[in-house]
């Protein structure tokens, strides 16, 4: 796993308190958004569970003894949702799916790879896309299956793919 390059804010205690001043707050939340996406990209994770955030070094800086409150994590998640980088998985908005490309972007990336490698018109399993030998150099290699399915659904809605569900496996056909 790559070492994370923490930004200066991470060791600045006020970073862990939601700022009331509007302009400051905007800057702070923007920094949090990019840090969160960066962290999830490098550690290749996709799930944020607000009830367990304090076990994650991202939201809990042990060296300066500061951690984010659950409320503030929720604020950050909602900010990410507004710009299309996250969505809630349950109604109580405690579990979140986070992706460092928007679902449309992921869809485009996958579709471009499919077109470039001549898979249009054929069927692949989702396992082949994320864990297949052909995709090891691709960004979506090892992508969370849930994120992948949601990205493929964006292609489906623009009629460029169709998801096929059978038993315990999922396949997709590209057009």
């Amino acid at each position: 796993m790559t070492e994370i390059n923490w930004p200066w804010q991470y060791s600045f205690p006020p970073f862990f308190t939601l700022q009331p001043h509007a302009e400051t707050k905007a800057k702070q939340l923007a920094a949090w958004k990019s840090l969160t996406l960066e962290y999830y990209r490098i550690t290749n994770q996709a799930i944020v569970d607000i009830r367990e955030v304090h076990s994650s070094p991202l939201f809990n800086n042990v060296s300066i003894n500061r951690k984010l409150s659950s409320d503030m994590v929720l604020v950050i998640m909602e900010e990410l949702e507004n710009s299309g980088y996250a969505c809630a998985l349950d109604k109580s908005r405690q579990r979140w799916l986070v992706y460092w490309h928007t679902l449309q972007e992921w869809g485009e990336i996958i579709y471009n790879w499919v077109r470039d490698n001549g898979f249009i018109g054929s069927v692949c399993t989702t396992f082949e896309l994320t864990d297949g030998e052909n995709t090891t150099d691709q960004e979506f290699h090892g992508l969370d299956p849930e994120v992948l399915v949601r990205a493929l659904r964006t292609l489906e809605s623009s009629n460029r793919a169709e998801l096929i569900m059978f038993d315990d496996n999922q396949g997709v056909k590209f057009f």
Partner: protein, 399 residues
């Protein structure tokens, strides 16, 4: 005139004779009375007047207790022509315990003593000295008191008490005695206070009548006299505190109060750095007023008037609800700059630390930090330890 009493022509036990003048008439305000050309005696407690002996009528004896006299002045300009001089005595309201006198009411609250004698310096100096010494308070007329003492000694003599000093009863008794003594001293203290309040009220009343007179007669009074009047007012020691009963509408009262607030607080507020919390103001103002205390509501209402009256200080309510009086010239920007500089220097600061450095109250220090934050020059770190403020690196550090 209604302050005079009919009396017997003899001195009271504690009273001492000071001076006698003959050919004195009493004038009620500006009205001549039937009491003319008599003999005036000044004692330590009273002014006595006796009608002249050669008149065919029965002799009349009048007395004026000196405690009615609040101010004495010599007046050469009498309205009716005859040789001699006048002494004007300004009097307080008549008290309830007064004995019957020659008049039950009077239109003026001063009397003239009209002397045939031209040089009254000795009389006036004796009179003013006596009034200043207030002998009637130190050694009250003893008549009633001596009777009381006699009665007490008799009762204690007739009922000899055997006092046990041992056992629970002894302890209980000593406790009881102690309690009694405290009780007495407390009620004594309050008696004093009551007297003081009563006197202060009189003083205020007098000062008001005099100042009203000044206003009234602004036209035909010489500058010299105005200055003299003002000097009297000063010597009375109370310079007219603004009180509610003096004004008909509370709005007018608040306006006047606001003006007085601005006048007395401008300097102290400057001293403490341009801002003072309303609680501090309340304490300071009431300490200065002494007796005519202000209620918090009145102070608040008066403070609200400050802004619209164009006075040098104004009321300010912070977002947190803290209320302060501050100088109109007070510059928030300068404060913010100063705090921001201090933040750069110290890296981080709490309200308590700022209060210590700047010699402010913690409340005001917090307000300063919040103002700095509001201006975008600080950001907060709200942890379990304290609310710390840091320089706003979010805005200054460009990533």
């Amino acid at each position: 005139m209604n302050r005079f009493e009919f009396v017997e022509p003899r001195h009271l036990p504690n009273e001492s004779f000071l001076i006698r003048e003959s050919g004195v008439s009493i004038v009620d305000g500006e009205l001549l009375t039937q009491f003319s050309n008599g003999e005036l005696t000044l004692t330590s407690h009273r002014i006595l007047w006796a009608s002249s002996k050669d008149s065919s009528q029965r002799q009349i004896y009048l007395a004026l207790s000196l405690h009615y006299v609040v101010h004495v002045e010599e007046d050469g300009s009498r309205t009716y022509s005859s040789p001699g001089k006048d002494v004007v005595l300004h009097l307080t309201e008549v008290s309830n315990e007064k004995m019957p006198g020659p008049a039950s009411r009077s239109f003026s609250n001063y009397v003239r003593l009209s002397f045939r004698n031209e040089s009254l310096t000795q009389f006036i100096s004796l009179l003013t000295n006596t009034i200043m010494r207030r002998t009637w308070e130190l050694t009250p007329v003893m008549q009633s008191l001596s009777g009381l003492n006699f009665g007490q000694s008799e009762s204690s003599g007739s009922m000899p008490m055997i006092k046990t000093r041992t056992g629970i009863i002894g302890i209980e008794r000593s406790l009881q005695e102690k309690q009694k003594a405290t009780d007495e001293s407390i009620s004594m203290a309050f008696q004093d206070l009551k007297k003081l309040m009563g006197m202060a009220k009189d003083m205020v009343a007098i000062s008001k009548t005099i100042s009203a007179k000044i206003r009234e007669r602004q036209g035909d009074i010489t500058e010299d006299e105005t200055i003299r009047f003002k000097a009297y007012l000063m010597s009375l020691g109370i310079d007219d505190p603004v009180t509610r009963d003096a004004y008909k509408s509370s709005n007018e009262y608040f306006k006047q109060l606001a003006k007085q607030l601005a006048q007395i607080l401008e300097e102290p507020i400057k001293e403490v750095g341009g801002m003072m919390t309303l609680t501090d103001v309340y304490c300071r103002v009431n300490r200065a007023r002494g007796l005519e205390l202000l209620s918090p509501e009145d102070l608040l209402n008066a403070s609200r008037q400050l802004g619209s009256l164009g006075l040098p200080i104004i009321l300010r309510v912070f977002d947190s609800g803290v209320m302060v009086l501050q100088l109109r010239s007070h510059d928030d920007k300068a404060i913010v700059e100063a705090v921001a500089e201090l933040l750069e220097e110290r890296k981080s600061i709490t309200a308590e630390e700022l209060a210590q450095t700047e010699g402010l109250s913690v409340t005001l220090a917090r307000e300063r930090l919040l103002a700095t934050e509001k201006a975008g020059k600080a950001c907060r770190d709200d942890s379990i330890e304290a609310l710390r403020f840091y320089p706003n690196l979010f805005l200054t550090m460009d990533v």
